[in-house]
Symmetry: C2
Subunit: 595 residues, 2 copies
């Protein structure tokens, strides 16, 4: 086989690649971070790389997705080409940081501190011919099933502690036995595996105290931004692809563990209990389980119930014997993250009627009414997080987060007061609301050029479409408006289908919980103006931050929460929207914006 | 740090070693096979290597253990020197093969075929949004606790088998699920981890048929031939030493697995159940658990009960999820091998009184009388297996296996009809019996020179002691006789102590089971002549071959056997001889040979 060299700028890295191999997988496999939202199908246009010399002729997809100037400069899509000769590429920087909003909790439910993990100091009488294990059981006054690791640790712990040991267990499972009855740290890790973001929390399980929280982009983003493109990547690349995705997310979690422990002055070895939540596909990938069946009707996951696994088997860099609990799912698209949100908001105990929306890359909707709970998931897409929007970005410094209408024009706020780099979800919703209000976008979603309008100077031509430009670097194109329109229609239709199933009306709903970064920045008035919610929701909206992560934290701190999660899951009636003609009709109806 | 090179002949291998390190551990760590019976304490004299130039001055231990000629030729003990410069060594060959007697079964008990491992062909209906696991449970019509590996295999198995899968479990544990309902092999592995020998059996669990059996020397022999020297090695080398011993035995078992599978045309992946027996120290080392506490009073092991582990955690090269059962122990010195012997001989069901002796490197004795079972262990040493005997060797080709008295001299049989290379246990016992009978060894065990005796030409001087020479290469020295004398006194005293505890007499014993290679070659008359047994045992002796290995095989083939092993273990009353003054007095008494 012939090999070629790929030189990468600015890193200076060299990759050896077999003749004829596809460029994108080669780059990804070599650890190059490139965004690819469509799994290499030439649709998203994100896997841009610049050929520093000898760029190949552009493909049809590239002619469509890249401007003539870009093509001339050597920009191509890595998914469109094979390795046919030595190549020199410029790889644009990959922004990995994510908003710390993802982990900031503004919402604090009350729950008892009774962690599943516990420390038991023991004095073990070492005399007599009984086995060390029998002596341990005598001191503990109960029967235990020994693990290999316990047996390996026991003799050393007894010797070093001169009979005084600390027995560490999670539920009925023994994680470790250590010498002495001194100050042993008992730590827990809660992780929300989002399609876009990994958020992790380090907990002191004895005090019930958060020692740190941190979020990074899910490293799987290089393989596609949404659930479907990652499933497609597994389908197309088989076991190797599955393993790549598994390694990507596990390395992300391990990175978070390292950072959190470093900052808290803690030792990863002391993390003896971990709880993971996330959508079903993300948890399948975390465990290295093929999620393909979730990708097509009837969207069945491989498992749904809560799982209790061992850190070692997942390659997590915490205590090898640590218990890793995964919360249960409701269906292939209503996952452990949604269950965790319900747990965090104590909605399973709620008397009144409620609506919970967790709008991330997918949108999960839960309706509680008359003691019954209904749930559905809409493929709303990541538009409300700034995804698939030309100038969209997460709520990071440089993002336009709010836009308001002034007498003579617009005013906008930028996170961190810098120059605008892009616009995040809340800014998008504000801007769209203003455009609807001022008639620059009509009810069918068309951006209309209105000469003489006081904002008409903002309307510019953007390739073959119109756009509304608020700054040199930030504009909202006609295509962006379509993305928002589709997302809002899907969510609103989902809410109405659930109400129909429950036999309820919007008026009956007492509280609308908005989970995720989506909720924390949004202006309720703008959400209503674009028609995502009916009018009377304005006063009912309650942002709950990363409730999924909080639910995972609660499962660490309250051993009953795991059982509650099971009960919640069993109580939820799942509605599959793709089989509902009612959904289609409501979706089409809500493609229109309110007048 | 400065490094030196060690050149090894005849292998041509080069080892880099830090200045000042001890030579023996360096050689062992580099995979050089050297016998060391005393764990590097300069006692056994077995770790001989020849310095090809610049041999260091001999130590006191070497002056004692090596002849002047050997010292002059550059022979030294590897345990006595450090690496102080570049060294060139000649390493004598290490004989690894062991007698296949170790695995040949002459004794076949009857037991039902109801293996713990089973195959369940299923058709899984794949329609609907239920999870794959729920669909599997529906087909199986029972609840199962899924393992990570089951979940990883399930989607592929369902897809490849188009819903038809074979579910493989051991007891309640799911080992694997495979596509199709075709002809899946269901294999089991039984291993007897002896101090000297690893014996393994490959079983077809569906047919209850043995597919092969093989034995090799326990590779840990390089670290010391007996239990105590291996414990000492762990004590002196800590975790690193423990890991070396663990790796040695695991590599030995994996070697056996490879050979057995190769010969049977089987795939190691198809081995889903394994049963291990062995003495407590060997099983501690197999699991990587510090056995130090067994090495000193009160000789407590780390655990005693039966364990059920996972192949992956033990680094066994069989199915990663295979269930590995270890039979329980009675005490730190009466192990799972003894329990397996009782199981194999169905002695827990026996009505009559019996004695069971498993004489290997240690000697375990079990007495059943009046429905009660008593057991003890004697540090008899390996003399009856040819260990610590100057010309001793296992029952391999070249070993004198039997000696008989003729009118004018001696007649001897050599295994394989070759030239004698040494003498094995049965030959030793025959020879000693003849020497006692002819008065050349007196009742105190002294070899006496009797001018004019028809065998007097065999008596030669051997260094500073007398020896009885039967061929140029084979002689029995005074020191050898002392070893046999100590071993026989210990076993005989052990038998008498047990009888005393049980309130029984030798006459009541109906059958004397001799387990191990020890029993299969011995002449009962010779055993009685040297005083190992009282006279009336001659007609009661029944060799049962490697009953420990057979017990492990039975535990594979009969799921009830594991429970029976537990019951047996609980029924046995263990007598610690080291605390018995009665043992000391009987031991001293039986140091004398019968007149």
């Amino acid at each position: 086989m012939r090999y070629h060299i790929i030189f990468l700028k600015p890193s200076g890295k060299k990759i050896e690649a077999p003749q004829g191999e596809r460029l994108l997988p080669i780059l990804l496999a070599s650890g190059v971070r490139i965004r690819s939202d469509c799994g290499g199908r030439g649709i998203c246009g994100h896997c841009r790389v610049r050929f520093l010399k000898g760029a190949p002729p552009p493909t049809e997809a590239e002619a469509h997705l890249l401007s003539p100037e870009e093509l001339e400069q050597g920009w191509r899509l890595a998914c469109q080409h094979k390795v046919e000769s030595d190549i020199a590429l410029w790889i644009p920087p990959f922004v990995e940081e994510v908003s710390q909003e993802k982990v900031r909790q503004t919402f604090q439910p009350i729950f008892p501190l009774r962690p599943k993990a516990s420390l038991i100091p023991l004095f073990v009488n070492q005399g007599g011919p009984n086995s060390a294990l029998e002596k341990l059981k005598d001191a503990l006054k109960e029967e235990i099933k020994p693990s290999l690791s316990l047996l390996r640790q026991l003799p050393g712990a007894l010797e070093d502690g001169k009979g005084s040991v600390t027995f560490i267990r999670v539920g009925r499972k023994t994680v470790s036995v250590r010498p002495g009855s001194g100050n042993v740290d008992l730590l827990g890790l809660a992780v929300d595996v989002g399609t876009s973001t990994l958020a992790a929390y380090l907990l002191d399980l004895r005090e019930g105290k958060e020692l740190g929280a941190k979020a990074i982009a899910n490293p799987q983003i290089s393989f596609g931004t949404d659930v479907i493109s990652r499933i497609t990547y597994v389908r197309e690349n088989g076991k190797k692809g599955l393993e790549e995705l598994r390694e990507a997310v596990v390395s992300g979690v391990n990175h978070l563990v390292k950072k959190l422990c470093l900052k808290a002055g803690a030792v990863p070895q002391d993390i003896v209990h971990a709880v993971f939540v996330g959508n079903p596909t993300m948890l399948h990938l975390l465990l290295g389980i093929d999620p393909s069946s979730i990708g097509e009707a009837p969207f069945a996951p491989v498992w749904k119930e809560a799982l209790s696994l061992r850190a070692k088997d997942l390659d997590l860099m915490i205590n090898a014997e640590a218990v890793v609990d995964l919360l249960p799912f409701v269906s292939g698209y209503v996952g452990a993250d949604t269950v965790a949100c319900l747990l965090a908001c104590r909605l399973h105990e709620a008397d009144g009627s409620f609506l919970l929306l967790d709008i991330g890359t997918n949108g999960e909707i839960v309706l509680g009414i008359g003691g019954k709970i209904f749930a559905c998931s809409t493929a709303a897409g990541p538009a409300f997080e700034g995804g698939r929007i030309s100038c969209g970005m997460p709520a990071l410094p440089g993002a336009v987060s709010h836009v308001s209408l002034q007498a003579r024009g617009l005013r906008w706020e930028i996170i961190g007061e810098e120059k605008p780099r892009g616009i995040c979800g809340s800014g998008l919703v504000d801007l769209l609301a203003i455009l609807l209000q001022t008639g620059l976008v009509n009810s069918s979603g068309r951006l209309v050029s209105r000469p003489g309008h006081f904002l008409s100077s903002h309307i510019v031509s953007y390739g073959n479409q119109l756009a509304f430009q608020i700054a040199n670097t930030v504009s909202l194109t006609q295509r962006d408006i379509r993305e928002l329109q589709l997302a809002k229609a899907a969510i609103r239709a989902g809410i109405e289908v659930l109400l129909e199933y429950a036999g309820g009306t919007p008026g009956e709903i007492e509280t609308v919980y908005l989970a995720g970064s989506f909720g924390s920045q949004m202006r309720p008035e703008s959400l209503v103006r674009i028609g995502l919610f009916p009018k009377d929701f304005v006063s009912k909206i309650r942002p709950v931050g990363n409730a999924a992560g909080l639910g995972a934290v609660i499962a660490l701190l309250d051993c009953n929460a795991l059982e509650e999660a099971d009960e919640i899951t069993k109580r939820i009636k799942y509605i599959e929207l793709s089989r509902e003609s009612l959904f289609s009709s409501k979706f089409v109806k809500h493609l229109h914006f309110p007048n």
